[in-house]
Symmetry: C2
Subunit: 452 residues, 2 copies
């Protein structure tokens, strides 16, 4: 195949080969493609050629392909392959990919698929599914090489060579004792540089960084990225080695966690992507909107309590959206700083205090700046000095309180092990809306004689 | 060192060794620690022990340590080490870490540091600094192994062994021709499984996935994560191999990009973390807040244009925060879906149309649901059927428009290569605020005779 072929030219060549039934020619094209590229080709292929495409693939290629597809397409391919091929493919699939495919299916489909597999393979996956979602046990895989501690470097290299096909990353070998307990780790680099007859237990690294099967996936991702590992061994309570989490999973975990933070901060509802159908998307977004609707009613009833004040000075309504909006925004700013800060740092009590004092100062600085500005504008616009004073002093107070609420509430939630990002939609917005209106109309009512 | 020692016990043992001046004992403790652990120990050490700690470290350990520290601490360590040691450490540092240290310094400090280094090392880093920030050229490093295409597998393994110390990940070797052009890649796995006298160019993979030095770092990160690579070769325009970007950098890039998205969506200002001082943090947050203040004034002046309507039906003010808030929120929801969707997918025109139609339907569904709800509530609360109708129909219209604005505006920005996340603060909020108030008071004014 020519190296300079574009993706489209490759597609045309593939269709040509499929039409003419030339499997050799088809395989020549595929040889230089990565699994990701093969999956893209499959996705873009006209439907009428898809069956033939699958027939021409080897079991290894089918496995690679299926691991790169989205759940919907995976199921389509499994169905098209037929029982015999698909059972072989499922056996060869990486455990974590298979577990994540099964997560999205209903129990009947799971049983049917697992039934097609070899018992030892399906047992591994079924075991993984018993761990809670988003834990190490759920995302780990078994593409690693372990060696007994009594091996020599020579024996280790021989075993490594033998398992090169299954181990995705060859950077470390994990060392276990007679009871399968993890006792050490040795890098491939150390194998290369050591002398051939050294015993592994004499040259291995004893203090292994590892994680328990029940560790939260985000913690595992943090460990791997801090230590710059390509894989982290996962052990059971008794230190038995049961799997590894690899760096490619870490990238997915970080993207997933960042998306979750954004979903919560923007109250946009769980897992909506470009392919979600409108009814599902609306259904997922509605709870937040309806909650916000009732929050809006609370604000409305506060305003209605100040109906007399408002009736006598309608101009107060002009500054309402401004004050509520600014308070909400400074709260969201603080919230975002706290939520993202917690992704990379673990907070100690001393730092928490420092952070709150910092945000108090931020609130005071932005409060003073914005309130002087709005007081002058209100005075110039409406020609009323008292109005300027009421609007300015309200904004000063609400900005300080909004900033602190946006800082303290997520920290308290974090302390109680509740995801602080949850705070955004309901809590921060409600509290800041209600407080800002109460302060604004409270101050205005106190000075009502000066305003009219 | 005992394996069961906690971090605190290790700290105590380190202080003990430092006090007694026992370097051997100190090194025994450090032997089992990873660079990340050593950096944490250094950070937590009382100030009076830090100098001795640095004296006891080898140049390799100092290099590892400095690469794990934050800029401020890096500079402190460089100063404490003195010229002679620090020039050696700078020479040994990884290019990308050094470049990122230099990015945060002023020109004088950069010159001083580069002056201490070997010329060939400083030339490499200075060259990296000529690429724009957030491009492949800026984050690449030279911890990879290349081989000429005429090598045999035997020669390749010999070279690999020789360079094992510098190559961080040993998964692939890059193959170049006589002009240093990248012509192929071979995985370590293939070296292990091939026969020892095969020529590299006969067994290598010809179709190399690579990126140009000027590629955006986010694109590079996408490529690496899609293909599950541990490193991606970076080439100049003429295909000369100049570096690799490795998977650990990809994790940092994804975290950085997610943080940038959140900063922009929450309008929280650039790079504020737990350590930013309050004046800097306030200074970075203020521009958005002042912009929002003026946007609030625009809303205020719209309301003031409907002063007569508001004067005759003060109850209209009660629903103002609700309508503006809901419209803003549905816009932010759509925006978040679009911004995060674009992280993992490249949109084609057909999909864009589909997405807009999808969001139109979402807007209609949530619009109908919420407007029926609010119409009933408004009617029951205020006992006015026309008021319920005005509030309900306004909300229906504003929710549909808000949803579409939150979808279309970021897509248009994306099309014109402007980061769509920027849209949040100023654009979506302004447009939705202004439109919702215009619609609400417009409808109310039209039915004013029924409302009073």
């Amino acid at each position: 195949m020519s190296l300079s072929m574009t993706e489209n030219e490759i597609t045309l060549a593939i269709i040509q080969a499929l039409k003419e039934g030339k499997r050799k020619q088809f395989q020549d094209i595929l040889e230089e493609l990565h699994p990701y590229d093969i999956a893209r080709q499959y996705e873009h292929l006209p439907n009428k050629h898809k069956n033939k495409f699958l027939v021409f693939l080897t079991i290894e290629q089918l496995t690679d392909l299926i691991q790169e597809l989205e759940t919907e397409d995976q199921l389509e391919v499994i169905q098209k392959m037929g029982i015999e091929k698909s059972s072989k493919v499922l056996d060869m699939m990486e455990n974590d990919d298979l577990a994540s495919l099964l997560t999205d299916l209903d129990p009947e489909q799971i049983e049917e698929l697992l039934g097609e597999m070899k018992q030892e393979e399906s047992a591994v996956v079924q075991n993984m599914m018993t761990y809670p979602p988003e834990t190490a046990g759920r995302v780990m895989n078994n593409r690693y090489v372990w060696i007994p501690k009594y091996y020599t470097i020579r024996e280790a290299i021989a075993k490594l060579k033998h398992f090169a096909e299954i181990a995705q990353y060859l950077n470390y070998l994990y060392v276990i004792d007679d009871e399968k307990k993890l006792v050490g780790v040795i890098s491939y680099k150390d194998l290369l540089l050591g002398s051939i007859d050294d015993r592994i237990e004499d040259v291995m690294f004893n203090r292994v960084v590892k994680a328990d099967v029940l560790t939260d996936q985000e913690e595992v991702a943090k460990l791997i990225s801090r230590y710059n590992f390509v894989s982290l061994p996962i052990v059971q309570e008794d230190d038995t080695l049961v799997g590894v989490v690899t760096v490619d999973d870490v990238i997915d975990i970080f993207i997933q966690e960042a998306n979750e933070d954004i979903e919560k901060l923007s109250a946009s509802g769980k897992s909506i992507d470009f392919k979600t159908n409108p009814f599902v998307a609306a259904y997922r977004r509605l709870p937040w909107l309806i909650l916000l609707l009732f929050i809006g009613l609370v604000s409305g009833s506060i305003i209605s309590n100040f109906e007399d004040t408002l009736q006598s000075v309608v101009a107060l309504a002009f500054f309402m959206p401004l004050i509520a909006g600014m308070t909400g925004n400074t709260g969201t700013q603080s919230l975002a700083v706290v939520v993202r800060g917690l992704v990379s740092e673990d907070l100690e009590f001393k730092q928490v205090l420092k952070l709150i004092v910092r945000e108090l100062w931020v609130g005071i600085i932005i409060g003073i700046t914005c309130s002087i500005l709005i007081a002058i504008i209100a005075f110039v616009w409406r020609g009323s000095f008292p109005l300027g004073l009421v609007v300015g002093s309200s904004l000063l107070l609400t900005l300080i309180i909004g900033t602190l609420a946006g800082t303290i509430i997520p920290l308290v939630l974090y302390k109680f092990k509740i995801d602080p990002a949850v705070a955004s939609g309901p809590l921060i917005t409600t509290i800041n809306d209600i407080l800002s209106l109460l302060i604004y109309f409270g101050i205005a009512t106190a000075f009502i004689s000066k305003l009219t």
